[in-house]
Amino acid sequence: MGMTITEKILAAHAGVKEVSPGELINVQLDLVLANDITGPLAIKEFRKIGIDKVFDKDKVVLIPDHFAPAKDIPSAQQCLEIKEFSREQGLTHYYEVGRNGIEHCFLPEQGLVVPGDVVIGADSHTCTYGGLGAFATGVGSTDLAVGMATGEIWFRVPESIKFILKGKPRNPWVTGKDYILAIIGKIGVDGAQYKAMEFTGEAIRDLSMDGRLTMANMAIEAGAKNGIIEPDEKTLAYVKERAKKPWKFYTSDSDASYCQVIEIDVTNLEPQIAFPHLPSNTRPVSQATQVKIDQAVIGSCTNGRWEDLVVAAEIIKGKKIHPEVRAIVIPGTQEIYLKAVKEGLVEIFVNAGAVVSTPTCGPCLGGYMGILAKGEKAISTTNRNFVGRMGHPESEVYLSSPAIAAASAILGRIGSPEEVA
């Protein structure tokens, strides 16, 4: 019996020829990651293990990005804790504010994670790196502490669901974000519970790397252990410019076994909106045009990449943000930020009346830099629309692609780029 890409990567890192779903295995880690929220707890647990040094100072990454630049004194304290730990341990990969970005935008961009890697991160959106053809999954701080100390973690090998995306979308504004929202809408927020989501088919091959990273990023919103896309020539072009270490391309065997195969024809897919309060509560944008908004957020580990800003700028250029709307644009990394300055995107956003923020997770999780008041509504390119996610428990978040968020910022209500004359 053949193996899936997920099974092959796990087998290689468990030092065995093959693995099958349900098996409990011990896996060697290529990279472990934490941030200013999960890092301090992980460090506290690490200290209890009885090992002084991390397993490999080149394989532990700590990034202050959630409440950084620090939003208040307790947050500053948390940022300081991961900084001091990085110094104490001599970590190669600690990145200070001003030289970093949102972790899941930053790591692939800097070539710190490559195809074939096994990565754990104390952040649920660690699954982003599946877009490169790596096995990556989110864990809590205690698992991360043990990973830092030993370089290993136990996993139950997940069953895989294969999603075959066929066709080419007729609507030019349909993106990877719309594919993944449509999938979550179809299978539900626990539709891939404990499983691997493998995305394949013509529509995936046609997707840019930024679009693929967006799709893998939201695998967790369907409850998945990981999302993954087989690497190809686009992956190679992306990785060879950046990789800081050797990579390996794994692909699924033609006789690999899947617990489910789901085919989706994207030809007539419309841009998708996830209504409050679950990412699975999706509707096509044409059914959302009555929703007035107070804020539009374009950014996050889901949609803060270069291509996301380019599409938003294209729509916003020469227009004005609706008088009753705050538009907040957050480039995912310093590199993207600088490029946005150089290529005139920042000028387009500022001229339109939008705010351009330093890279931060900020508003996505209701941290800061765009918190909603009671009763306010936001359209957001982020990944979750749970109760109170972006602020007051009685506020509302509608999830969309950057194109829809940009158009909505101008319209003052949810709408499509076609409506922005």
Binding site: I49, G50, P74, G140, T142, V189, D190, Q193, G223, K225
Partner: protein
């Protein structure tokens, strides 16, 4: 702690209770358990921390703990006084986190459909046996794999790994 029976009154919540609801991100600028406990489930059950009694049991629908990987969520529940969480199903990161920090959790699909809010339950986290003392009904939760049971019996992943590290010399 784990391995011993726990008993307490039932608090019920629905499906897809996410970790933002268990502990909102506005409190994640701190990680001390007592502070987190004060804000546990506050957007879902007002004033819960003042009303919950040590040993109480949380009974949930499916996909409990979905969303963020924040370990602050099981820490808040445990520090608030909950001795155990029983759900139809758990989101995977929450499931690992709860076991790792020594908060007993049990998958038992029938419990949330049958047991009433305020009922008194006795739970054996290791065997998975759940008894509703109000009605006398007995439920059997899904058993843990032996290796996970060992983690629970040691009181969490850190004591488990610490022992392995020590034995390795």
């Amino acid at each position: 702690m784990a391995g011993n029976k726990v008993s307490g009154q039932v608090w019920k919540v629905g499906h897809d209770v996410d970790t933002d609801l268990i502990i909102a991100a506005r409190y994640l600028n701190r990680s001390d358990a007592e502070f987190l406990a004060q804000h546990c489930l506050e957007d879902l059950i007002p004033n819960l921390p003042e009303r919950v009694k040590a040993g109480d049991i949380l009974v949930a629908g499916k996909n409990f703990g979905c969303g963020s990987s924040r370990e602050h969520a099981p820490i808040a529940l445990k520090a608030a006084g909950f001795s155990c969480v029983i759900a139809e199903s758990f989101a995977r990161i929450f499931y690992r986190n709860a076991i790792n920090i020594g908060l007993p959790i049990i998958v038992a699909p029938e419990v949330s459909k049958t047991v009433q809010e305020g009922s008194k339950l006795t739970v054996d986290p290791v065997s998975g046996e759940i008894k509703d003392l109000t009605t006398g009904t007995v439920f059997q939760g899904e058993p843990f794999p032996p290796f996970m049971l060992e983690i629970l019996e040691k009181g969490g992943l850190i004591p488990y790994v610490r022992e392995k590290v020590k034995n390795r010399g």
